[in-house]
């Protein structure tokens, strides 16, 4: 699952951090600064920073104690962006993530986001299960989930 292979002329940043919630805002700010010098579309940069933040929240919530790994690749000519977040997790958390992913990946992104909001509003387990639906709708990107043993890789491609 190495996401830094075959980069060609792509620019990229790669960060690893221990799963601590307080680092997420810091990483989000860093990504926003990186994108400000990498792409010209400010709205797109904001959406990517939001998506990265949501993916990191997801990773930190459900990660086992190993590090969380994020790579952001930028193609200079097309401003195509790939965000990839990888972490290890428990079998139970991976199964939950896959259930949410399978549910939100089909259908109209807007309808799915609104449906997930309604569902989140009545959940009593403290979880929202809203992040992936939000990313898919707000960025218009292509989400993908890869699972290998206890390693989870969530990626999004934004054209």
């Amino acid at each position: 699952m190495a996401v830094t292979e075959n980069l060609g002329r792509d620019g990229y940043i790669e960060l690893k951090f221990g799963p601590r919630w307080k680092y997420i805002a810091c990483v989000r700010g860093f990504i926003q600064n990186f994108l400000a010098i990498s792409i010209v579309d400010q709205a797109k940069a904001d959406k990517i920073a939001m998506a990265a933040s949501e993916l990191l929240e997801n990773a930190v919530k459900y990660a086992s104690h190993d590090e969380t790994h994020i790579v952001i690749r930028v193609s200079p000519e097309t401003e195509r962006i790939v965000i990839s977040v990888e972490n290890t997790s428990s079998k139970e958390s991976i199964a939950q993530l896959k259930d949410v992913y399978d549910k939100i990946i089909e259908g109209d992104p807007f309808q799915m986001y609104v449906a997930q909001m309604k569902e989140a509003a009545v959940r009593s387990d403290g979880k929202s299960h809203l992040g992936l639906a939000r990313i898919r709708y707000e960025t218009g990107g292509d989400l993908s989930l890869k699972i290998s043993g206890n390693t989870v890789n969530l990626s999004i491609v934004i054209e």
Binding site: W21, K47, A120
Partner: protein
């Protein structure tokens, strides 16, 4: 103190003020809502607003998000939970939530309008 006697919130990264307006109250959010579980802060706050609005028969809450730089999906859940409470209200107790958004903040442009689809007629956005 405002007419609902609700204390404002002033945390490290988020501030929520409440002011009286003729038709109800206005809440102003500034900062970032990006904590791990914003429901601890937001659920009781929105519940107090909801029950106060019903008890006093007020018509409108203006929710000013314009100063909110970031709201994570757990925070969106808390707002959605508040909005969904409107579905239980009858003609006598119902009130409207008017959301003010900042067109220069991307997440507000994409995410906040979706809240109007949760309870048709219950939420307006400007």
């Amino acid at each position: 103190m405002n007419k609902l006697n609700i204390q404002p919130i002033a945390e490290e990264r988020i501030k929520i003020d409440i002011t009286d307006i003729p038709q109800g109250i206005q809440i102003n959010m500034t900062g970032d809502i990006d904590m791990e579980d914003p429901s601890i802060l937001l659920d009781p706050f929105f519940e107090k607003i909801h029950s106060g609005m019903i008890a006093q028969g007020l018509a409108e809450v203006v929710a000013d998000f314009k100063g909110l730089n970031f709201l994570n999906s757990s925070g969106i859940k808390a707002v959605a939970k508040w909005i969904m409470k409107l579905t239980d209200l009858d003609e006598k107790t119902k009130y409207i939530i008017k959301i003010l958004h900042n067109k220069d903040i991307t997440w507000q442009v994409t995410s906040l309008p979706t809240l109007t689809f949760l309870v048709p007629g219950g939420v307006k956005i400007e």
